[in-house]
Amino acid sequence: MQAKKRYFLIFVVAFLTIWNFGGYQLRHKPTTPFDIEQLSSYVNLDSINTGYTIGKDRHLLQTDARVHCRMETCFDFSKCEKDFKVYVYPQEESNVPSPSYQKLLNILLESRYYTSDPKEACLFVLSIDTLDRDKLSNDYVKSMQTKIQRLPYWNEGMNHIIFNLYSGTWPNYTENNLDFDYGKAILAKASMSEDHIRPGFDISIPLFHKIHPEKGGDPGSNSANSYPLEKTYLLAFKGKRYVHGIGSDTRNSLYHLHNQKDIIMVTTCRHGKSWKEMKDERCDEDNKEYDRYDYETLLQNSTFCLVPRGRRLGSFRFLEALQAGCIPVLLSNGWSLPFSDVIDWNKAVVWADERLLLQVPHTIRSIKPSKILQLRQQTQVLWDRYFSSIEKIVYTTLEIIRDKLPKKQKRDGLIWNSFPGALVTLPTFSDSMQDFPFHVESYKNGFTAVIYCQLGITFSTTSALFKLVSYLGKSKYVLKILIVWSNEKRPPNRSRWPNLPIHIPLHIIESGSGIDSKSSISQRFYPHKEITTDAVLSLDEDTVLTTEEIDFAFIVWKQFPDRIVGYPGRSHYWDDSKSTWGYTSKWTNDYSIVLTGAAFYHRYYNYLYTEWLSPLLHKTVEQSQNCEDILMNFLVSHVTRRPPIKVTQRKQYKEQPSAGSWSPWNDPDHFIQRQTCLNTFAAVFGYMPLLRSNLRLDPVLFKDSVSYKRKKYRKIESVGS
């Protein structure tokens, strides 16, 4: 009541004020026609916010859950408090899913998200194939409703994800008709529209082909960044048109744009059984023109590719264009693009409007070459990070959901939309971009040396380990030395280690103590809490490295903090005769691996190695007690898509074992094992992530015939190979 009275007063005052000021021709009078100060405010600060009735509103949210689902109302967060795990219902023999859905399930079962215990699960995935819900389709699963009702944890669909590529059927292709009630389940669905997607709840995924690879996936085919881009065609489209029915208008009009020169728009009505009965007067002419062009050629030789809606909003063409680096021009009004919650498509596509079809050529001709360069590169970034395999599509879907959970750090759009992308930037590691090796330009701190002692070589003042620690102690940049002691012997007493400057602490971590239950080899790259610097220098106990080499490698690493920078270069190659990958430690003109027996890398990779890699990979390393260094190279190359960096000449980085004594390095089985690892890793990653480099980095005056006094790194020259 008080408030109302006050309002009334304000009203009166306001009126009186306004009547006094007449001028209102806003622009034409330079002086303010109204005296602003005399006008009343639109709101009375003291009275507007009183009262706290939210109960009714709450109630409103509960009605018609299916349409109104939001994370707050249709998701049980208490299931996700501990960990982010996914349960997959056991497959029944009578229900054989389509190959695509089978791949999707395989991915989940092998992934680090998977749990076999429904009590641990945050999310639930059906083993019944829901990808194709078009009744006319072969993969359509009948009596879905009954099957759903039988699921033991269904609970109206809470915390379930339904993956779907096709919904509705001829003639209307109704978008939200999956032919069963998905209730409160999250839809991860292709061709979603802004109308039907439940904001912040459902996830739009791309339509992918039956042959879309399960893992790995081909890289984008835009291998050159020519500038300005000069392709044969500016804009291309080759595809079906429907003559009648939903979605046919747009494609039926495309021929208006076709100019046979730089804009190629060819359609055909020759599809389906009865096309001849349905055909219109343009069909014959269109078909002729259609046959003149090859789809793949257009894709590779056009700057822009038109992606018009079909019967449904999304089409295969979208991913095909993305991969080809052919900038998609979207003609699909209302389509909610894949993962648009997190991906900024303005950086990679051009939106057109079906209503303004004829303006499309003008619009794309107005796009500057520098913008084209950006758009094209971004198509490749997005393709490579989120779309090139079913695994990436599924992981992206899960990570988007993970970002919505309470108490979890969220990745921002900068991480999602730039290289190396959100799937390898784990928010659980840190909430600050500065702690990751990406997007950072300079490092001020020194490094932590981590020496992995697996062999238990007898320790004395002449042993390699002793010398290594002494050399480390002389480095300008070392801040801490960590000994990861992982063999049966006891580590040497404190007093027996070399004297180190007071500011360099030496920690010994004994495997089995502390974090343990983990096998010893996984200790090597464990993100030990003692490692507080970004830079880690990884060493073996028998590594031979001088202080100068250590310091030089470190200053190089600071320029390439996302890569492995070190000494022992190795190569992989494709062995055609055996059809396998080969591994070699011979001297070669290039390398693709830098072993972690003497290399710098960012500590974030320890975290990724331990927390992110597939359990299958860890198992391979643990069973062989070998190959962890190769795996680290796979990981880093996969994340960065760059080769490692070798510095200066040194190749021999181990103390030569005395004649007759055993060392894993001269054991032929050891070598064969590494070759096997290489092939297993490539299989699990789904591709070969290693990349070759043809260069090494030396000090600027390395081995130049100038006075030694001029050189900052002198001793490094006497090290040799």
């Binding site: 109204f34 916010n49 706290y52 939210i54 600050s432 290039d590 898509r641 260069l695 040799g720």
Partner: protein, 635 residues
């Protein structure tokens, strides 16, 4: 107290029909008439503002609320903006001059009739209405209860059920007092970590907050009615709960005071959330999780808090700090929607300038070998040396083409028939003026990404060296990769930057007398080099190579890469030389360039490194014929 005669009057009565009810299904694709846009000839929305009218009944009594101060500001902002048009025929967006900012101040019946009387109303199509306070007691519906047909609403109270995504626009609730609490400096820690200052918190949450305060008495401040609106310098983080409405003054007030808002409001639609990434500047907690507030905040690192506050300040100042900015942002959002191919990207909307990756070659990949490179030779009249160079270059496997840039304005180049016969094409381009910048012109004849810029007298580089240089460039296609390196040093005596050609342990420039560059840089040099630098280069016939190093470093923030030991180029018998001449004057003028350029760029973009690139088996005791690059010269 006379009624102003100047305000034209419009008579309304209940017999007239009002506007149609709000269409809850509207989307940009079906309710917005796109054909009304684009009649101006430029790709910018044209916004028309209806003239003010006074709406009265039969007896002359006013029926529609007169305008408020804020609404006046909104109209003024639009009229002064680049989007404004006086011509309704070319307008794409229409703004009724009827104040409905506050639902409690309007008479819905008459206001709706007033709207429908507008001359271009046509069902509300393309009309934009600002409504900051929606709902009335006791229901407080999140959308204004007014028949507005197909008009778009810009409002502050939407929830995710009433908001028409990609049609309506979510605004912050404008607080006339937010500015009072605005702070400039964000770099200090506040006394309180968390504060709650709202007076209208639901008792349920208030209980939860009070429990938390008891648990964390030193970190949490709960303000009550006695201490309203005093944020500045008091908190790092502030809670934003909803009251009966979702629009809350405290959001803008918190932002002004650079307190990170904690949003506890289910189903909210954040202001401009379609373009602004609130995850960068706010923390979200679900209403049912209020009691976990301190647990969530505890896990946020100090680094993160500082970054969030920095972004918060940036976003606040850019989009929220005044009603003008809020209104202009609203129009910008519509602009992006109507002309999506010109829409701003995430980065442009959200990132601080220092966070934006300006590197135009950002996709990390090794360039393809098979495409090869084009050698561009700038020449004047040293024919003999030019021909020798051409013959040598012809032996480099990855060379695709040679482009000779003929800078001599008096003499014509020799006919192609006199050029050495090589298996690769040669193009000769006659320039129109003898300018050094001609070497960086992005000639159409250059069809490869990679360009080897080479002086006509650099004839000592071996085929292996050049091919290896190309290999290195392939791995670093966004950098300058080449042979002659230089450094910059700061001279404490003269207090200026100096050019250094001594052989030092570091390098920060690679001269373009023999260097690989991406063609993009030639384009950039020709179109985006600061004008005063271009003049300096052309007048002095010097420093174009230094300018290129500055240009690339300024954009990429990366140092160049020096390849192989080679250091002597033009004059093998001298021990240590500057390229054109060793005279002091030359060095001085180059030092002058370095210093001048750093002033023009406003910083020293060059970065020094202590390494160079060599072939993997360089100087290794290994059979030379097995080395891919064995003919690597010294010095």
């Amino acid at each position: 107290m006379t009624v102003s005669p100047k305000l034209p009057e419009v008579k309304l009565s209940l017999e007239q029909s009002g506007a149609a009810p709000r269409d809850t299904k509207c989307t940009h694709w079906d309710c917005f008439d796109i054909y009304r846009c684009g009649r101006t000839g430029h790709e910018r929305i044209a916004v028309y503002v209806y003239p003010l009218r006074k709406y009265i009944d039969e007896n002359g009594n006013p029926l529609v609320q007169s305008i408020s101060r804020e609404f006046y500001v909104i109209l003024r902002t639009i009229v002064n903006s680049k989007y404004y048009t006086t011509n309704p025929k070319e307008a794409c967006i229409f703004i009724p001059s009827i104040d409905i900012l506050n639902e409690e101040r309007i008479w819905a019946n008459f206001t709706s009739r007033a709207l429908s009387q507008l001359p271009f109303w046509s069902g509300g199509q393309n009309h934009l209405l600002f409504n900051l306070v929606a709902g009335r007691a006791p229901n407080y519906l999140p959308v204004v209860q007014l028949d507005v047909g197909n008009a778009m609403l810009a409002g502050a109270d939407f929830d995710s059920h009433t908001f028409r995504y990609n049609y309506d626009i979510a605004l912050p609730l404008y607080s006339p007092v937010a500015k009072l609490g605005q702070v400039q400096n964000t770099n200090f820690r506040r006394k309180w970590k968390v504060m709650s200052s709202q007076l209208n918190i639901d008792p349920y949450y208030l209980d939860a907050l009070q429990t938390l305060r008891t648990a964390y008495p030193n970190q949490m401040l709960l303000l009550d009615a006695c201490h309203p609106h005093l944020y500045a310098n008091r908190c790092d983080i502030i809670d934003v709960f909803r009251g009966e409405r979702r629009g809350q003054f405290v959001l803008l007030e918190a932002m002004a005071a650079n307190c990170i808002p904690v949003i506890v409001m289910d189903g909210r639609v954040m202001p401009f959330e379609h373009v602004i990434d609130w995850n960068r500047v706010a923390i979200f907690i679900m209403e049912s999780h209020v009691s976990s507030l301190m647990d969530v905040l505890k896990d946020i690192s100090d680094k993160r808090i500082n970054q969030m506050r920095e972004s918060l300040k940036f976003l606040y100042e850019k989009y929220f700090s005044s009603l003008d900015k809020i209104v202009l942002t609203t129009l910008d959002v519509i602009q992006d929607r109507v002309y999506p191919h010109r829409a701003k990207t995430y980065d442009e909307w959200n990132l601080l300038p220092k966070e934006i990756n300006t590197n135009p070659l950002f996709y990390p990949s090794t360039a393809v070998r098979s495409v090869g490179f084009t050698a561009v030779i700038l020449t004047y009249d040293r024919i003999q040396s030019l021909f020798t160079l051409i013959e040598r270059l012809a032996k480099v496997p990855s060379l695709m083409k040679i482009v000779v840039v003929w800078n001599n304005q008096i003499k014509n180049p020799p006919p192609l028939s006199e050029f050495p016969k090589i298996s690769k094409p040669i193009n000769v381009i006659k320039t129109k003026a003898n300018k050094l910048s001609n070497r960086f012109y992005p000639y159409r004849e250059i069809e490869t990404e990679a360009i080897l810029h080479i002086d006509d007298d650099i004839v000592m580089l071996t085929s292996d060296e050049i091919e290896f240089g190309f290999e290195v460039w392939r791995e670093f296609p966004d950098r300058i990769v080449g042979f002659p390196s230089r450094t910059h040093v700061f001279d404490n005596v003269t207090n200026s930057w100096k050019y250094e050609s001594e052989w030092l342990n570091e390098i920060s420039m690679v001269l373009t007398g023999a260097a690989f560059l991406h063609k993009y840089w030639s384009h950039l040099y020709s179109t985006a080099l600061p004008e005063n630098i271009r003049q300096l280069v052309d007048q002095n016939m010097n420093c174009e190579d230094i300018a290129m190093n500055f240009l690339v470093a300024n954009i990429t923030n990366k140092p160049p890469i020096k390849v192989t030991p080679r250091k002597k180029f033009k004059c093998p018998e001298c021990t240590n030389t500057e390229m054109l001449s060793a005279d002091k004057g030359h060095l001085e003028s180059r030092s002058h360039c370095v210093d001048e350029f750093s002033k023009i760029f406003g910083r020293m973009p060059l970065k020094s490194v202590e390494f160079r690139a060599d072939p993997v088996l360089f100087k290794d005791p290994f059979p030379e014929k097995l080395k891919r690059f064995n003919n690597i010269g010294s010095l």
